[in-house]
């Protein structure tokens, strides 16, 4: 017998017969001489009675109260009392509880109320109170069939209100035993039991600060391993339980709580996904997680990202980032000039944003989970629900800002399968006539950004996808060709812009793909068609593309386009429509600090691109000053051919740049 606490036996207890033990015991003979009146005293008494030498009682294990810092003394009952009493077995306790429950319908609620009181008592439990609680829970487990859903509502609600985090391991085990018994005894309790377990995914508010400390982490492991085991047991006994579990989990997601809570909850979801009942809940969990990511994503206001003063080219930001990133912590970017670290500033303003922080933490959690799936060989299986979720949730969300990077990372982990699958899905959506227009345009915007930014994508893959786009655009020209009309041919223009955008990043590698050559010629025909995509598509993209095409000597003749260095034009606005899909580049550098560390190794920054006109290494400019447009857009600048002339000729000139930001235009029709 392990250490027990001091047994306080109140000798003034009135021992009066209360129940006839000898009947109804199923043939087992019991000699019980003393039965006591009040339950609270009862159990203490029983606890004492169980300290008999022969019986290995469950209570005695409970009495290990070391964690409460108590100096425990083992005291056998023999030392304290006369050796007259018999030991009460578990079944006797069960009978007592049964009688307490049954007597409620007869009007006698005393024992029952005391039982309810024991359940409610949860804070600052002394070891004997712990023992009382454990005994009560175990006795109840055996008496579940006597619990009536309406008569014993108080008891049930007090049980279901218990949060596992408040208790030590022994109480937890007893409580879970009761929950599992309840769930399997009667279908009526299954949902409440599941809800109780899901509520125990997160600790009570008071625990929140402790979560990051080693003590908190140990407690978390203690609780969650038991909760998940209980869920598995319930699923084993009630096969339809997982289908009831999923809606409960989605509903109880504490999305508006503080960041540690949300993260712990999401940890639980992912633990379920990869756990014992994973095969039943996996896709639901992943979809629910993506839904949460998107909900947080759309909640982040654009103000969190825009930094009105900066409007600096992302190009410099990226360069600076690469050099400074290693040192960047919570460093105040203001020591450097506004010009140099605008990105950090916008990151900082985002950093204060609690929704962004939550999203950041959740995305990191997802990345880590994906990594572990890849290690265990499950990535392909996990990717399918992610892909579905992307198509249903992310693709339809209005300009998702960061949630899509989950897909990016998953593809980076497995370029040959997942990477290809993603690209093909987007291309299929673009080409499929069953989908609505803005859905297809959104898909091709994702595709263009993805193909440009993923450094893990092979040239042949990019070429084959481009080929599809080119073929589609070419066929469109021949089939539906007409005059230039931004609103009537939106899909066509978005397809052309996608092709040009990808080529801006990958001109050289595409030229190197031998079989792609004929398609480059097709591109020329498309761009020179009456539909005039070069006039309609986003000017900065067109300009950059033309510069590169000229340098690479792609086209047989080149027409001069002078856009006055506009980022956008009325035509591009027209084809971009309400959602400004003309300026949508979803895989632009991720602004979430922690997530970016995962993405960075697989990402192509504009600064890494060597356009054909730049065969020498050129340094970037630090002091690009942009004209403040009423559009307030920041762009990626490119290395100018002649830095000096660039700056001297026009003081405040906008650099020609690749539009890389997702900033909405402030013109009237934009949202």
């Amino acid at each position: 017998m392990e250490g027990g606490s001091e047994c306080r036996v109140n000798r003034s207890v009135d021992y009066s017969p209360w129940v006839d033990w000898s009947s109804g015991c199923g043939g087992r003979t019991v000699e019980a001489r003393f039965v006591v009146v009040g339950l609270e005293l009862d159990l203490w008494w029983w606890i004492g009675a169980r300290f008999g030498p022969a019986e290995t009682t469950t209570i005695s294990r409970v009495m290990g109260a070391e964690e409460f810092g108590y100096n425990v003394k083992a005291q056998t009952f023999n030392e304290m009392e006369d050796d007259d009493f018999n030991h009460f077995s578990d079944s006797e306790l069960v009978y007592h509880v049964r009688d307490a429950l049954n007597s409620v319908s007869l009007g006698d609620c005393d024992s029952y109320n005391q039982l309810v009181g024991v359940m409610h008592h949860s804070k600052g439990l002394a070891p004997d109170e712990v023992a009382l609680l454990v005994t009560s829970l175990k006795a109840l487990s055996g008496a579940v069939s006597y619990i009536d859903i309406s008569l014993h509502e108080a008891l049930l609600s007090s049980i279901f209100d218990m949060n596992m985090w408040n208790y030590g391991p022994d109480v937890m085990d007893a409580l879970l035993g009761l929950i599992i018994s309840l769930a399997s005894s009667n279908g009526k309790y299954v949902e409440s039991c599941l809800e109780m377990l899901v509520s125990s995914f997160t600790p009570p508010f008071s625990f929140m600060d402790m979560l990051k400390q080693p003590r908190g982490i140990a407690k978390k492991d203690q609780v969650l391993s038991r909760v998940h085991l209980a869920l598995k047991h319930i699923a084993d006994l009630v096969p339809l339980a997982p289908s009831k579990l999923c809606p409960i989990i989605s509903r109880k997601m504490p999305i508006y709580e503080k960041e540690p809570m949300v993260v712990v909850y999401a940890e639980n979801m992912l633990k379920l996904e990869s756990g014992a009942i994973g095969e039943f809940v996996s896709s639901t969990m992943l979809m629910a997680l993506m839904d949460t990511l998107i909900d947080l994503d759309v909640d982040i206001g654009w103000d969190g990202i825009l930094h009105d003063d900066s409007s600096k080219g992302i190009f410099q930001m990226e360069i600076e980032d690469m050099d400074e990133f290693a040192d960047y912590d919570e460093e105040d970017g203001t020591e450097d000039t506004l010009l140099q670290f605008p990105r950090e500033l916008s990151r900082k303003s985002l950093g204060g944003n609690s929704t962004a922080e939550k999203l950041d933490s959740l995305m990191v959690l997802t990345f880590e989970h994906l990594k572990s799936c890849e290690v265990s060989g499950r990535l392909t299986e996990v990717f399918e629900p992610l892909l579905d979720s992307f198509r249903i949730t992310v693709l339809t969300a209005y300009k998702s800002k960061f949630a899509q990077f989950v897909m990016f990372y998953a593809c980076a982990l497995d370029p040959e399968n997942c990477g290809v699958r993603f690209a093909v899905l987007l291309a299929d959506i673009f080409a499929c006539e069953d989908y609505p227009l803005s859905f297809r345009m959104s898909a091709v915007a994702y595709l263009a950004s993805y193909l440009s930014r993923g450094n893990f994508l092979s040239a042949p893959l990019v070429a084959s996808i481009l080929k599809r786009l080119v073929d589609w655009c070419f066929e469109y020209c021949n089939r539906k060709g007409g005059e230039m009309n931004p609103t009537s041919h939106r899909l066509f223009y978005s397809g052309c812009q996608a092709i040009m955008y990808v080529l801006c990043f990958r001109m050289k590698s595409m030229i190197d793909v031998a079989w792609f050559k004929p398609h480059l010629l097709l591109i020329e025909q498309i761009l020179k068609h009456k539909l005039s995509p070069l006039k309609v598509c986003l000017p900065s993209v067109v300009e950059e593309f033309c510069r590169q095409a000229e340098a690479a000597q792609l086209f047989t003749s080149s027409e001069e386009f002078n856009f006055n260095d506009l980022l956008e034009s009325e035509h591009s606005r027209a084809f971009g429509g309400m959602e400004r899909l003309d300026m949508f580049f979803p895989f632009d550098p991720c602004l979430l600090k922690k997530s970016d560390r995962f993405i960075r190794p697989h990402f192509v920054y504009w600064s890494m691109v060597r356009p054909p006109y730049d065969d020498d290494e050129c340094i970037s400019d630090e002091d690009v000053v942009e004209e403040e447009l009423d559009l307030d857009v920041s762009k990626m600048s490119i290395t100018p051919r002649n830095p000096l002339s660039y700056w001297i000729s026009n003081g405040l000139e906008e650099p020609r740049g690749m539009p890389a930001r997702i900033r909405p235009s402030t013109s009237p029709e934009s949202l």
Binding site: N186, L237, L240
Partner: protein
């Protein structure tokens, strides 16, 4: 095993206009939403279906969304346990006070100690909990045993069965199959039951195969 029946049903499935070029798919999807739920009209839990589209012409409903109604003839496999039926299931958990059973892989059933006949004693042997019969040698129920039990009640909403092992013709199926003739002589009604048991036994082997077949056909349907 009782409680399973095959019903013929005439159904109409209303299909959304967007699915008008994939009607069979839409119909199957609609029908699969019926699975593993108790349906009042059919009076049972739908386990499997076999569907034939009756008419290529469907009536379009008037209204905002012009759904059209596809007429079908379907064979439905239904699970409809009623009180006093005998069901078979696998024991998944055994405690001193209860036996937990799963029927047909999806329905949970519980038999509490009050509904287990006195004959059965709870024991712990080699670390395993089991119920062993005192009068019938080698009649043992433990985790993994397939047992036959009587239905006391069936919760249609939760698909949860409350069962009983009181009648003499309940217990481990394997034992019952082997010892159907060796029933205690003291009870005439038991004798009578043993004759019908013979049929049941014959039926029991059939039903085991049936289950297997049923499971197979279920897979077959879903693959469609």
């Amino acid at each position: 095993m009782e409680g399973l029946k095959v019903s013929d049903a005439n159904l109409v499935v209303y299909v959304h206009p967007s699915k008008s070029n994939k009607v069979p798919q839409a119909v199957l999807r609609e029908l699969s939403s019926l699975l593993f739920r108790f349906n009042e009209s059919f009076d049972g839990v739908v386990l499997a279906y076999d569907v034939q589209i009756q008419d290529k012409i469907a009536k379009i409903l008037p209204g905002f969304h012009p759904y059209f109604g596809v007429k079908l003839k379907a064979k439905l496999l239904l699970f409809a346990p009623k009180p006093n039926m005998l069901l078979e299931g696998k024991v998944v958990k055994l405690t001193e006070r209860s036996i937990h059973v799963i029927v047909l892989g999806f329905s949970s059933a519980i038999i509490t100690v009050e509904d287990i006949r006195e004959d059965f004693n709870h024991k712990i042997k080699h670390g395993d909990e089991l119920f062993a019969s005192r009068s019938q040698k080698r009649h043992v129920i433990k985790v993994g045993t397939m047992i036959r039990f009587l239905v006391k009640s069936f919760d249609e909403e939760r698909l949860h069965i409350s069962g009983s092992l009181l009648p003499a013709n309940t217990g481990s199926i394997r034992w019952l199959a082997r010892h159907s003739e060796d029933f205690s002589v003291s009870d005439r009604s038991t004798r009578k039951r043993s004759e019908s048991e013979g049929e049941l036994v014959g039926g029991e082997t059939y039903s085991l195969n049936n289950d297997h077949q049923i499971k197979k056909s279920k897979k077959h349907r879903i693959r469609e």
